[in-house]
Amino acid sequence: MDTSRYAELFLTESQDNLSAINHALLELERTPTAREPVGALFRAVHTVKGMSATMGYAVVAEVSHELETLLDLVRRGERAVSAPLMDTLFAATDMLERAIELSVAGRESDVDASTTIAALRSAAATSEPAAHAPSPTTTAKPRKKRSSRRAAASAVAPVTVVVTQDANTPMPGVRAYLVLERARALATVVSTTPDPSTFSDEAFAGRLTIGLDTSAPDDEIDRALRAAGYVADIAITRAAPSTNGHVATVPNGDLPDLLPISAGSASELAPARQHRHIRIDLHRLDTLMNLIGELVITRGRLQQLAATINESALTETVTQASRLVADLQDGIMTSRMVPVWQVFDRFPRVVRDAARALGKQVDFVVSGQEIELDRSLLDEIGDPVVHLLRNAIDHGLEAPDVRVTAGKSPTGRLALTAARDRSAVVIRVTDDGKGIDRERVLVRAKELGLMDASRSELTDDELVRLIARPGFSTAKQVTDLSGRGVGIDAVHARVRALGGTVDIRSTKGEGTSVTVRLPVTLAIVRSLLAKVGDETYAIPMTHVNETVHLEANTIRHVKGAEVLVLRGDVLPLMHLRDVVRLPRRDAGGGQVVVLEVADRRAGMVVDELTGQQEIVIKPFDAVRDGLSVFSGATILGDGVPALILDVSSLF
């Protein structure tokens, strides 16, 4: 069967299941005696196994099979939930994830799962009694009694039927059971060899002898039993019955007691997933998004034309169309929004692993999981947040003994919160660790010549700016997890590229809080249009605090730099003409746009303001080539291109 068209579906669904597996593992680690996580684990692993076998992904199927075997032992209480066992399970889950990704990418041969499989097998083989008694919901394992002869020779059997199965019969024993059922429907079964209780053993040989008390003719028996499927041959003899005695009786209607394993009745892990959803390829939404972008641009053009023509019927229609476009835009934006838990879901596992590797005790709390963000933004923000979490565990939180000495609880608190703030989403990572060592940062800054040697203190703003510098790291030692000189600066760069900002607050001995502010959506932003010379520039409204007329008497000079005095506040003043390297105008006038980035404000002088517009951000390669003051480009309503100012880069 051509399975390629199912690959995408397989991947998404496997990821859901992996997430469920990780959750259940964490739960199990916290409460080793809990039964629910084991049921959930078993079910998720089982689903992955079935899907991967169907896709023909042999490695994934094998790993999940071994994992399932081990979990089955745990479920039956035959393996205790110990730290080494948890490590084996976590490692196997990671391998499963890698194997799935590579298999879907067509690189199954790159996967080497032998170590994982060996570890799972050895954990399953180790005969170590469970620390706790099996709970009532788990039941006895399948019997392995090869020769359970419950009864001696049966009564006389007038008809003996030997059924031989096809060589390639799947689950021959179970199929034999169906043959037996068919026989029961036809006549009284007086004997069965081998005993039905051994049917479900892997070693079932594919041959079954049934003694029947019946008057039905041979051809009827033959037809009835063949209907059970996979029957290669049926031999019927009406001679004297066998007297070898190794025959078990199975009274009709009294079915053998065959292992009633309850198949996972544990509660569902993520009820949020039970909502009615359809899966849509993200590319389709991207296409719609692009079309809406074009439509928004066209709307702008239409509005301008209508204003020029000034004909009431036209204006009215354009207004109505504009409203519909806005609704449509809103609808499509909303359809791209996903709750942050879709990405935050894997963080408890990340935190657990990092804490273990670094010997820290961490109480990790996540809140605001339901906050929604544009899917593509959410994908982008995952890695930076992981970085912040690892940083907090590595450099923020102290080792348990250090914490106790400092009068804190040995377990550190790490909080990840998401919240909506106007048109932005605020993601914050807070720890109650030792805080950033300002003295060390200052020393390092002086070493690098970034700070005047006479300075003895750092403000919050200076602190942020320093540690956000590429390559600025004070980590005493490089660990496996962070501190390789790509710390907060990498996060900062990534967030800025997404049009967001990073802010850091840290108090020595009390902890650090890193706040990432992101626009809710990427592609369309409301912007202020400012003109300098013949060019129009777009300034995203998220960074515009207010606009004021430029008046000579509000400008002061402090230490040679221009500042703007605004209602008693003194703000640094920039000129957009300087930024784009145009000569300043001699004539006065002009406007000042008051920009705001993370509680800091500054004034920006422009020639004139020409309005506000929804602008669609177009990919813009020049950004990478050094023009770092622009974050992208757009096409305005009149068809003229404009550059979008990257406000946070100006601060």
């Binding site: 199912y6 079935g50 689950m171 065959l258 394993i261 198949a263 009745s265 544990a266 569902e268």
Partner: protein, 120 residues
């Protein structure tokens, strides 16, 4: 008239695949269920000619669902969908009233043969 089918599996992937196999063979998929409880409910509502039933599902497993469905309709034709290694569970399902079974990975021809046996 084509036979009607209710597909019960907690994995969309599996439902899609089984659905495709049966649809191509001319069956009409009239319902899908993700849990055992749903399977029983939908069986009562839809009265399909055939039910395909996964064994491991959330809230109520496939075996209990077969038991409930057979209690409601002793003539119900349920085909179990099983993975390798589940011999014991399949036997239990048959005791509960399932008529036949297929083993993953599914081959369309085997699924259709099993369906014929069940409906036959």
């Amino acid at each position: 008239m084509s036979h009607t089918v209710l597909i019960c599996d907690d994995a969309i992937f599996m439902r899609t695949m089984v659905g495709d196999i049966l649809q191509q063979a001319g069956f009409e998929i009239i319902g899908e269920a993700e849990t055992g409880v749903q399977a029983v409910e939908k069986y009562r509502q839809l009265r399909p000619d055939l039910v395909t039933m996964d064994i491991v599902m959330p809230d109520m497993g496939g075996i209990d669902a077969v038991r409930e469905i057979t209690k409601f309709d002793p003539q119900a034709k349920v085909l179990m969908c099983s993975a390798m290694g589940q011999q014991a569970l399949v036997v239990e399902a048959i005791q509960a009233g399932a008529k036949d079974f297929v083993v993953k990975p599914f081959q369309p021809s085997r699924v259709l043969e099993a369906v014929q046996r069940v409906l036959g």
